[in-house]
Symmetry: C2
Subunit: 335 residues, 2 copies
Amino acid sequence: MSTKKASINDVAKRAGVSITTVSRVINNVASVSDKNRAQVEEAIAHLNFKPNVSAQRLAKGLNTAVGLVMPGYPGIFHSFYAIEIIRGVGHACEALHLDLIFHITKGYAPLNISNAGGIIFADIIENRKQIEATLAEGIPCMVINNRVDDLKVNFIAIDNAKGAEMAVAHLAGLGHVKIATVTGGLQTQSGQHRFEGYKSGLGQKKLPFNESYVYEGDYSRRSARQGLEKFLSLGKDRPTAIFAASDDMALEIINFAMERGLKVPKDLSVVGFDDNPAGLYSSVSLTTIRQPLFKMAEEAVRQLNAIVGGRRHSAVQQILVPELVVRESCAVPGV
Amino acid sequence: MSTKKASINDVAKRAGVSITTVSRVINNVASVSDKNRAQVEEAIAHLNFKPNVSAQRLAKGLNTAVGLVMPGYPGIFHSFYAIEIIRGVGHACEALHLDLIFHITKGYAPLNISNAGGIIFADIIENRKQIEATLAEGIPCMVINNRVDDLKVNFIAIDNAKGAEMAVAHLAGLGHVKIATVTGGLQTQSGQHRFEGYKSGLGQKKLPFNESYVYEGDYSRRSARQGLEKFLSLGKDRPTAIFAASDDMALEIINFAMERGLKVPKDLSVVGFDDNPAGLYSSVSLTTIRQPLFKMAEEAVRQLNAIVGGRRHSAVQQILVPELVVRESCAVPGV
DNA sequence: ATGAAAGCGCTAACAG
DNA sequence: CTGTTAGCGCTTTCAT
């Protein structure tokens, strides 16, 4: 146990070289003789030297920390969505040796990610103000999963409408006509877009839009139950298929349907959205729309890093297309 | 849009004072005349000046970032446990103006939280090596939710055995004799301790321990189902009450019991562990053992901060006692 | 109450 | 290939 932390000076002294040379081996500069390099490495190991990151950042004039701000609304962490984003961002940061500064925000509260070279906003529901402020401070931003058309900010989002259309098309392709939907929160962009995709999907298949086949949910399991309840109350006019705006809701619908004695997919087809792995382990595996959440998050870090590092200048504006995953929860309408 | 970021020099120039004075107002030192303070504040606002955190840290010689390392095993984020820890740590960091550096670890991989004044380990299942390494580097550590007796490290943990005893005592108090348990993963300390608490709880009430009333689960919903399945196969000898090592499993047991036509709590009493809010919204609200997870996480940050700041020197070794929360999922045995 | 000056630990020209 | 020398932006004695 040494008393003090070793500094670059101590290393230089022990290795019998200048601090510059030490700095060079730390930063993997090629022009160091093998002999010196070896000595420096020995000294580093011996003294258990770790460069002081603050000093490095200060000297380099750049900041290798990425801030991740997530909305703090209750339940956020229970969404598969949030988790995948965190995993993806975390993974990329690790690979690129970036610090990940995590920040759960109230939305309206001013941001305090003092020490971050760039910031990723995992959602924009309530943080418009924060994004504007960050932008104004000249800190590079990246918005995930929300296309922001009226702000000059980088984003990577998913084509939610397209995904919903794919879900409806799949159902229609099986022969369903009475296709209902339980929407996600309509104040969220994803909820809104998925609902619009549902409608346009119907249109594309020349199917009529029926107001009573819509239940406005909010991504909660509770609302999914209520949605199915409403649909079942329609009696013989009840839908034969349901597009749920999230796997979580889809799974709950399946559970509830079974409680009510309906067989899935025989009596009711269900498709979800997310590709939440839970959908694999349910009694009936779930047909769903896969979003490349993890990849999206990783990519956000990469792009942001390129921007902060000055390697990229143009705006990043990507829209990723989701993918239909067919499993067991859909069948041709029973009768 | 200014071209460069304003530095303390710019502020000093505009305010017509020395940089020292600017530094003083930034750090809320009292001895600054009202006039100067006002001028400096004006300049700060006008130039949109933000102190460079790296420079501050370097000059102050301390590091106000806390690292949070969590095990990266699949599903970690779906546990109520992990979420509450993150929330609590996040909240405390925010209140104390500390950066929260988030790190999902592989356990065996060497830690790379270069820039952190102190580190919180949210679990110790596989990071013993990392903890030892961190300790060896002289970085203050804090282990959450695991009592580590063979390592000289600070920890705040929960008395899992005591909690399990409380659950069993409650059930026994209602008159149950055939009390089963679905354990958590027995390789985890919590799983182990809760199981031991189950056994000692039985002992305290002079109830016999019955091997066939034990199902070794792993905290997954799947294992909970399997556990109940096993118990039901016992026919008329089946238990009348089940202590599940997590709310998640308890909830799944209730669902599955209902699917099998059993009424809860009439035909089967269930008590969980965690006080997961989901337990409130299920068809039958869940009686459970409340762990002060959020508080524990917050406290960990506080203590760690005190240690890093030199305000605390002795080791922190707290064991928190959980609490029984009685709701609707238990009743006197039916017959 | 205020400022000058000396670092904090490291990087990056610039010479050699 | 290596060392010298300025800083990076801020805090902190120490005088005044």
